[in-house]
Amino acid sequence: MATTTSTDPEAPAFDLALTESQALVQRTARDFATEKLLPIAHDIDEHGTVPPAILKELASLGFMGVYVPEELGGAGADVVSYILASEEINRACASTGVIMQSHNSLACDPILHFGTKAQQERWLRPLACGDTLGCFALTEPASGSDAAGLQMTAKRDGSGWRLSGTKNFITNGVSADVVVAFAQSEPGSRHKGITAFIVDKPSTGLSVGRVEQKLGIKGSDTAQLVFDGVRVEDDQRLGQVGDGFKIALAALDGGRIGIAAQAVGIGRACLEDALAYAKERQAFGKPIAELQAIQWMLADMATEVDAARLMTWRAATLKDRGERFTAEAAMAKLFASDVAMKAARSCVQIFGGYGYLKDFPAERHYRDAKITEIYEGTSEIMKLIIAEDMLE
């Protein structure tokens, strides 16, 4: 047993221990991921789809509205629990991870924080129970990192609005029932003119365009959404006119903690798979785990994954406490995504030739890891955010 060494009774709490319920959430997520997801993760990647039964079970366990309050149909847990669950799900299958996370962070979260009571009843409750699936439509063919430059228009149309434009790279774009979409309502005014809307799918004029073929996270669908004069009522407007950019940034701030947790999950998958293989694989008359070259790679992976996890937990704790976490979330995502990429490279290297084959999970981790450096803000944008926060 560890013994207490502090003699200062007033010592401030600095406690990395999970609460009883956080530990239970982590355990449920780990058991579900290990027993239900891990055995089919290869097939999910191969066939490009997550079985509907898996998403249904995720919903029944409460993973589709983790930190939405119980009275709105969610599980009523905290952001730390969400991050713990995300790591576990992604350790087994990053495709399933991103479906769940886009839904929680980018569809439920903005309606939870900016929706009216009526909007929460109408859209958030079914989303949080997992009866419907959500997506977030910000990126466009000509605007990614420069989100304020988006071209989709929202024009007044009697008591409502008409939305016209094209959204790109929309996670859950094919399967979603609800779209949180961002459009320019005052052309020429960049971020000050952006307004958010909640759009039902299907809606007249809304169609799914090109479905993308991707390097990794193949089990999650990514599509273009085409808005051709989609009519929405004013009660579908999320937040005030011109508040859209603020809403998008707030959702992305939280989403980044989720992506950091995804990267930690992928990094851990790399570490655990490489470790197990290194103990089995014989070379020069002994397991390769006994070779210092391999041990150094494993030690680096373990250290970096752990550091990334702590940064992610810290950002999640700040969000739970209602404190500002923009820079901390950006730092966690920047660091964790880099760690996931490095761990994936080491994992393939430790597997050697087998790491390059589809028969082993290393190459899937390698492909899945890369996206964490790109979506919900590239690593370069993360550095911009961190620097801006310091220079403010």
Binding site: L24, V25, R27, G62, E70, G76, A77
Partner: protein, 255 residues
């Protein structure tokens, strides 16, 4: 109907068990603790009754120290209605008869209609407490149960036997020890976990429980390390087959 499940907290099945320096116990530092797997099947079996009849009350009870609460909390998160911890000085070291007696005194007050236990705990595999509890209570006991269903005259109980099952009937209170069944125990859901968080787990004192010494552990030792396998590489397949047959007969003695 009131169902009570007696659960035991054991090292998780993924734990790498190490024998402690005293040679009669295991190292408990760093162990992940879980509900014993057969007890989880018993919980699932009880919760299925509740799924079918909403007025069913499912309670759990365990004997042990403070960390035993985690196991009870997990059972609450799975959907059990209430939990009781029998605890106090000596609760951790009670022998199996002592545990059966401690449970009996709680059950006398809680008055469930049926008591369920796992058929054995996954740590010591004794299968002692369930039948001992039935004896202490003076209740009938049915072992290796995979299913129960309410019937006009009491409870129908499916009991596993070689090649099939028998259906028994209990007209009154009984102790059932539960076997693994096809229906896997449910995961604690997130809403279940949040509900469980708000529930109090009342404690009952373990003091004064009769604990006759029945067993003394003399020595614990890990199983011998597994020897390396033999691999027949390259060369004549027929010769390999003959060599394999010889080894299976003369060395492994399985033919």
């Amino acid at each position: 109907m009131r169902l009570l499940i007696c659960i035991k907290q054991v090292p998780d099945s993924t734990t790498r068990v190490k024998v402690a320096p005293d040679g009669t116990s295991i190292v408990t530092d760093g162990i992940t603790w879980s509900i014993s797997p057969y007890d989880e099947y018993a919980i699932e079996l009880a919760l299925e009754q509740k799924d079918n009849a909403a007025d069913t009350v499912v309670s759990v009870i365990s004997v042990g120290g403070p960390r035993t609460k985690d196991a009870l909390r997990q059972a609450l998160a799975m959907g059990c209605d209430d939990a009781t911890l029998v605890t106090g000085e000596g609760a951790d070291t009670l022998g199996p008869l002592g545990i059966a007696n401690a449970l009996k005194s709680a059950i006398d007050e809680l008055k469930p209609d049926l008591v369920l236990c796992g058929k054995q705990a996954s740590d010591d595999d004794q299968g002692f407490v369930g039948p001992a509890l039935a004896e202490a209570l003076g209740w009938p006991h049915v072992a290796v149960v995979t299913k129960v269903a309410p019937s006009a005259a009491g409870t129908e109980i499916w009991k596993e036997v070689e090649g099939g099952h028998e259906v028994w009937k209990a007209s009154g209170a009984a102790v059932l020890t539960v076997q693994k069944s096809e229906k896997e125990p449910r995961y604690p859901s997130l809403p279940g976990i949040m509900k469980a968080k708000k529930k109090e787990i009342p404690e009952r004192p373990v003091t004064g429980v009769e604990d006759p010494v029945t067993i003394e552990i003399v020595k614990l030792e890990p199983p011998p390390a597994r020897g390396g396998g033999k691999i027949f590489k390259d060369g004549d397949v027929k010769a390999h087959a003959a060599a394999l047959a010889t080894l299976l007969r003369d060395e492994a003695k399985v033919l």
